[in-house]
Each structure stands twice: as C-alpha cells, then as structure tokens.
Subunit: 174 residues, 2 copies
C-alpha cells in the first residue's frame, strides 16, 4: 500500500496524490484506507520514510559531500520527494537516519549536531526548489527565453556542500 502510494507519487506528483485516487488504484473504497492509516498525513509520513530508506547507514568514513549527495539523490529518486519529506518532517518519523549519516560524516557528536541539522535543511531546501522548477518547466509555466533553471543546480549544490565541508574541515584542525 505504501508501495502503491510511492509509485503513484512518482506518476502524478504530490498535488494529485489523493486518498481517493490511491484507493481506486488499489481497487478499494476510499474509506478502506482509514483502517490502515489514521489520516493522509501519516500515510505521507510512511511514504517519506520509504524515500529516505535509500540513504546509507551512518558512516564516519564518508565525506560530508558524499553523504549530502546520497541524501539528495534519495530525494530526487521520486517526484516531489523533497516536499513529501519536508511536509512530514515535523513528525520526525524518518529523517533522523539522514541526519545521523551527516553527523557521522562531520566527524563527531555534540558540537556538530547543529551543523548537521543545518546541512540537512540546506539539502531539503535545495531539492524542493529544484523539483518545483522541474514541475514548472514541465507545465511550461516559465519564460520560454529563460535559461534552463535546472542547469546550474549542481553548481549551487556543490557550493552549499563546500560551505559545510569547509566548516567541518576547519573544526577538525582545532
């Protein structure tokens, strides 16, 4: 059922992922879904967890850049993946996993927890905006003369990662 929701998300996007549509995809009445999940929020939280399952276990041998890229790629693997994770982040059902991976890469606990959180917030913001632009582009709701907005996404991402990696390196020197 979460699998079906994940597949549907990738097909139609978050705005069109409705309980009714998911139900009909499962050949079931909409009300049937509420035996399995109390509401749509918790269904989406389960979907968000599944998306972040692709992030590898925390490992201190990974660089911040590598971990950041792994998280980014997990979010990019499904349409509107970042927005789903963001919208259910408050419930903290998954996410910890990704943050733990970042903490490990930053090389230490304690003082680096805040930096890991900040790095995670950057990644989520980055990918959400990127996926939004991808959608706007597919709709054609963008100036035709404007340059492909997703073209320099990698450059921006690397700039952000470089900032956090530099901070991490300077701390290690201390």
């Amino acid at each position: 059922m979460v699998e079906c929701a994940l597949r549907l998300l990738d097909e139609v996007g978050l705005p069109d992922l409705s309980m009714r549509r998911l139900a009909s995809e499962l050949d079931v009445q909409p009300s049937a879904l509420y035996w399995h999940f109390v509401n749509k929020q918790s269904l989406l939280a389960a979907v968000a967890d599944r998306i972040l399952d692709a992030v590898p276990e925390p490992d201190a041998d990974w660089t911040v850049a590598a971990t950041a890229r792994a998280i980014r790629d997990a979010l990019l693997a499904y349409r509107d993946g970042a927005e789903v994770v963001m919208s259910t982040y408050a419930l903290r059902l998954g996410a910890r996993r990704a943050q733990a991976a970042l903490v490990a890469s930053l090389g230490g606990a304690g003082t680096d927890a805040a930096t890991a959180d900040a790095a995670f917030e950057f990644i989520l913001g980055h990918v959400t905006l990127l996926q939004q632009r991808m959608h706007a582009q597919s709709i054609g709701a963008v100036d035709a003369d404007a340059a492909d907005p997703t073209a320099n996404a990698d450059e921006v991402f690397e700039a952000g990662v470089a900032a956090f990696a530099a901070l991490s390196a300077s701390r290690r020197r201390v």
Copy 2:
C-alpha cells in the same frame, strides 16, 4: 486583496487559506477572485512577493549573517511564510530581491552567485522546517516528552550561516 490574503494566511495558515474563505472574508463570491488573478497559484505568488518585501535592498556593507537573518525574519513574520515562498519560487516573481541581497553581502558577483543561491536555499529549508514544527506543536501532534523542537533553532541557523560566512571570508582572502 493581497493584504487580506496575507492577514488570513497569518490567522489560519496555508492549508486553510482557500479561495472560498478569502472570498467570504472580502464579502464577495469566490468566482469574483478570478477576475483579479488567473488562479490560486498567482495569488500566492503575489503574497510571497509581499512577504519578501521586508528584505532590505542589496547592500555590500551588510555581512552575510545580517542579510541571512533579515531574510529569515521576513519569512518568520507570517505564518507558513517560508512554505508560501517556496511553493511559488519556481515562478521567480520575488525571491530575486532576497538573492541579490545575499550576493551583495557575499561581496561580489560572478563566482559567488552559486553560493548565494545555496545560502538562500538553506534559509528557506530552515524556516520551512521550523514553521512546520511550530504548527505540529500547536496541534499537539508531537511527543509530549520531547524537548521543544524550536528551542535550538537559533543554534542550527547560526551554524548554517557560519558555514556560508566562512566560505565567503576564505574567498575574500584570496
């Protein structure tokens, strides 16, 4: 009319900011709104621009930290402010203003544009998550024994800002 939408947003939050509700607040039929805006998206884009109007003009004398804080505070000034800006960011109707301010603070054009974009993505991600947690808390949809999730938000924000400020400083040294 945008003013009314802004006020309503702050009162009821983004999920409850419907065209129908806004219409009734204006003592008008819902269909009347569509003479002024083609759809809800463009109405929200206008609201997003209004939110970012509070960000000061680009000024090279401002530090990255100061500019970042100004943007954060503009987003925090209205309920769900960051989410509104994110959801309409693809259209690029405002946002440029905030990014220009960051570019100026980073002290230069060209090579720092990507860093400014990354910093902006961090701020948006940070505040979106913060406001989401604030909402979850007001609903009580969070473990009662968990520590106030907004408590260390400042620390996380400063850690992120420090990362971008450090990168900017090291570039200046070159």
